[in-house]
Symmetry: D2
Amino acid sequence: MNAPLSAPRRLRLGMVGGGQGAFIGAVHRIAARLDDDWELVAGALSSDPERARASGAELRIDPARCYSDFREMARAEAARPDGIDAVAIVTPNHLHFPVACAFIEAGLHVVCDKPLTTNLADAQHLQALVRQHGVRLCLTHNYSGYPLVRAARALVAAGELGDVRIVQVEYAQDWLAQPLEDSGQKQAAWRTDPAQAGPAGCLGDVGTHAAQLAEFITGQSPQQLSAELTTFVPGRRVDDHVQVQLRYASGARGLLWASQVATGEENHLRLRVYGTKAALHWDQESPNELTWHPAGQPAQRLTRGMASLPAVAAAATRTPGGHPEGYLEAFAQLYRDFAGDLRDLARPASVPGVDDGVRSLAFVETVLASASRDGAWTDLPSELS
Amino acid sequence: MNAPLSAPRRLRLGMVGGGQGAFIGAVHRIAARLDDDWELVAGALSSDPERARASGAELRIDPARCYSDFREMARAEAARPDGIDAVAIVTPNHLHFPVACAFIEAGLHVVCDKPLTTNLADAQHLQALVRQHGVRLCLTHNYSGYPLVRAARALVAAGELGDVRIVQVEYAQDWLAQPLEDSGQKQAAWRTDPAQAGPAGCLGDVGTHAAQLAEFITGQSPQQLSAELTTFVPGRRVDDHVQVQLRYASGARGLLWASQVATGEENHLRLRVYGTKAALHWDQESPNELTWHPAGQPAQRLTRGMASLPAVAAAATRTPGGHPEGYLEAFAQLYRDFAGDLRDLARPASVPGVDDGVRSLAFVETVLASASRDGAWTDLPSELS
Amino acid sequence: MNAPLSAPRRLRLGMVGGGQGAFIGAVHRIAARLDDDWELVAGALSSDPERARASGAELRIDPARCYSDFREMARAEAARPDGIDAVAIVTPNHLHFPVACAFIEAGLHVVCDKPLTTNLADAQHLQALVRQHGVRLCLTHNYSGYPLVRAARALVAAGELGDVRIVQVEYAQDWLAQPLEDSGQKQAAWRTDPAQAGPAGCLGDVGTHAAQLAEFITGQSPQQLSAELTTFVPGRRVDDHVQVQLRYASGARGLLWASQVATGEENHLRLRVYGTKAALHWDQESPNELTWHPAGQPAQRLTRGMASLPAVAAAATRTPGGHPEGYLEAFAQLYRDFAGDLRDLARPASVPGVDDGVRSLAFVETVLASASRDGAWTDLPSELS
Amino acid sequence: MNAPLSAPRRLRLGMVGGGQGAFIGAVHRIAARLDDDWELVAGALSSDPERARASGAELRIDPARCYSDFREMARAEAARPDGIDAVAIVTPNHLHFPVACAFIEAGLHVVCDKPLTTNLADAQHLQALVRQHGVRLCLTHNYSGYPLVRAARALVAAGELGDVRIVQVEYAQDWLAQPLEDSGQKQAAWRTDPAQAGPAGCLGDVGTHAAQLAEFITGQSPQQLSAELTTFVPGRRVDDHVQVQLRYASGARGLLWASQVATGEENHLRLRVYGTKAALHWDQESPNELTWHPAGQPAQRLTRGMASLPAVAAAATRTPGGHPEGYLEAFAQLYRDFAGDLRDLARPASVPGVDDGVRSLAFVETVLASASRDGAWTDLPSELS
């Protein structure tokens, strides 16, 4: 018998942002931990030193590695022999760029929450930096971690859907249907503050997820769009509802809408793609099933654990069919895949990366441009890398 | 005890169109018969005399009242003491106008399948004629006959939904995903022939239903729209896919899409309306339930037979909850209501009428106008009556 | 061209029961009318002469053919040259037997609401009478009129399901969750009165539908059963909840439960059959779809209008897929089929008949017997015809 | 400002079973890790020394703490100052008892996969041992970790459902529809081997989950049952299908069925409880929603993240509404709660424990007894502790 094959060491993760009261930081930590590929060993969890220390203590981080300045953290961790392998950036949007710069320039890999930056120029700057420093960046478009989303992408790529004709994607929430930001709720406050969130509100927060999901599954980006941004809640400084018409170079047509004032909707990201040979429907709130409707035949309910799915589905799951997986597992999949990427730098990236971030910001800026011209059809930039 | 209250006599119905091979004519006949308010006694079921006679014989119509010329039928029936009370027009679209003119001018009431005409000018002409001759016209926007559609309308009208913010309406079919018209299939042939269907294909055939449903339930018509028409099937002469952005005077926003190439979809008319106080969702393929989602509370599943629904729902149903009603019952409701209207001409109309037809054609023409200007936002005409 | 093929004359229907305040009488009338095969021309709608006359007037029945004595009606109608072709019996259960006897003995065909009688002996008596007089009897087990129920039966019969292993059938309602009979509500009153309903309450009223549906689709009757009857509402004189275990000669096993106190349930008849090759699920409240789950493959959603369904489905429908049909259409299907049977007496019966009624009463009596012996496994009678 | 509050140290977990090729061991490890309360530091992952070492290496367990003899592990770990706090037993069923004995007698806490043992006597022995040694035992009836299951239990306990009348619970799978055990598949092999699984097959494997779920939510155990066990697959040595009728002391009635041959079913555990004031429905395959149906009102869809749910729901979740949680999170909840119990031994147990295991085995033995007497109603033992 061969010698037992030891597991590789856990990768060392640092985190910027994600201190007490944060939401997405905790999600990243569970996601990193779930498949046991990562350990959290350092953090600049807050720019307030007391809060940084307290947050670190709660997470059992060595006080010596609890920083309040992310630049200092980048320098210090890059210098340690047991320094972090990668940093997770889970701050409000406006800090993604400077934090990412600091760590990339220190030669460290990055996991960045989306959107990559608040504007296209910054995103392109990061794109250049990543190449220059030879590091990897994982952008947590977490919905692409779902097994059935990956199965859907594989089915389309294999031609099973035929030519895509119609794309209908939506992301509906209602948590900002009232002026929650006026109450001081932290999540609402920064997400509706252009200085922290960027000029796009709902558009940047969830519209970008919808756009990425459609692109991820269809393998196509729109060529032109016509958009309208609306702010329903009086006094709000960013959009809280967005509607976009899409034209694809292939001739396909699409609609994307996203809202944070859609009463009763929790986190309703849904995609329908109609092709010449089949259609597919996926709903993030029921992520363990995918409707696959071949033309002229009955709709089929594909479930996550089915042996007949494209192999990418099984590779992204942990439990058999009928044992539901959810949001955290999909998020964890990106961490698992990114760990694999870092352990084998020769293999192609298996997670969304800086290029996706650039395309996403191009989408945001094109929507803003079209909306500012009363919905005039506007080209998306064609050369982004 | 009082003398027994006899039922009023059945109203006498004539029919133009609806001969062998037709679809909607048979639907009208079942609808008229279902609640026993009507009897079919005359018809110009085809312009081909043989076919007219054969079709009439199948329907047990007196051969003397089987016409092949609708103008002759209008004259003859208007002259008979036992002549028809109303005519049902179930021809291809382009004949709605001349047939309606003939019967209205003969002083007869009309049931007209939608769309009222193929252009706005004709519709407005009918509007004037109806007033001039003092007749009633029922436009069979049949989806407004569903009990829960009426309940939804009543809930919105009563303010239970609050201010409407977002309207999402869609009507997806797939039966024209292939060039079915090339096979000689009769329904496909005329519906894709501009000479018979008018300039709007999918837009006129089902897009108008979607627009009417949204208007019926919200009580609002859009003020402006931005539209795109697409023809996916090569060689087709009319649109088979339509996408429209909607702006309402109230500030509400909406999206309407309709398609006849949406693979796997049968007759999927769906409406979601999000208001400040609640949201509602209705799906024509599951018409016995309505999702009602009050803000901050659980979604409720309202079912057709519930005692707590607005009274208009109970008035439009025949069976208790759990005994599904469907398309034919909703269609029949218009016939039942129209019979009531004709028996009590003093009461306000309880069915969609000529004004709805005019607004619908205005919608069609505005969509065509916007689409022809690359989706420029275009005002709907504000004065239509 | 051939001479036009005239439609056969409408069959003439009489009705016993179904006067003002009745439920199922109105359903039968709509069902008979829907496909235009029948006209209602006579009735003993009530045993109260005033009420009989008033009810007849509402239905436009010739006063000369409004009877208050069903025996007189049988005699008189049998003697008329334009007498009824068949009678519909829509009385409380205890009258089914004497009314059916009277009309059968007069040589008239019968449509009888279920259950056929209140006991097996009476049912067998009717079985003998029907044979003796050569008449046809249609027992309105209306759920067997649904197109997808017929498709399911055909799929099982064709061996597509393989060997049946498990049958799960249930019929849940809640309208008797309170002692509604104490309020004088007419439907509740007679259905909970053993003198009118027979000894079986929920068991006879809806349990028999569940049993018939399972038998109709699987093509098998149970061989043995173990049953428990419960009366939840204090003071009620019949069962309001029934649970039955089933053993089939084939080795299949099953559970049947029916309840009229299942809070929140309207008319929830559901069947699941698991076979060695596939499973099927059908739900009366969503009757336009059938889940078909082949072993090791994705579940398929079969919809009513699909071309690939067994031909019996298309033969039992009126509208294309996506245009929902419901309870009344399924009921009407029995009337349409029975009209066809009467017009072609040589063809095999296409509707449930007296033998089904006998088997149903045998089921009821076996359940009563088992329940009275604390659920002891009890054989169903094997020779019933 | 106060000194930062450090997190308590992670509890140290050992594992018996769960080596390469196992299923539930991996689930336990993820569950233990997910909320960061536990670290896996020792294991007797296999009784084969090579396999034990290899499995340990894959999990980064110190080779010095990779045992092949669970008794040695119990002794050694109990003796170490940094020894495990608790052991997770994830072996086939027949080993639960000896392993649990060894660790309890060593004074260590236990997490035991269900069923607790293969017979009631052993379970009662463990019950006594646990008391004698003052240790805690967590039985991983994982479905009770779902937030909405806990919400349901709280709603029933608060009287919101009224008196329970009807319990319908089922657990349907199909993975043993063929004789998979003949192929050497490890999971199938031991689960159908009475020597390893105990005398109950499907009954013990999933029937016990169904029984526990019903008990957990209703707060009631049945008083009597009538059962039937079936083996559909020829040659199989244990039951693969079970049907049970339930009588409760309160007068409630119920049905439980479980199957591993129900074609097309993955892991379909479903519960419906009908009470005098409301009904509830929960489906493990859609665990983020709970249908709550108040009598005479619309059904409500309660979702996991709703603020209005009983507080126990929020305490058992990690993500906001609309971000689905699943099987692993529910499982993790037991580990999180058990960690809390061990850190505060004074508080009442917050997870299912040895008493639940005893009741579960009593259920199993009563089912076996009833089934062996042709379904005779059989009392469950009333004194179990």
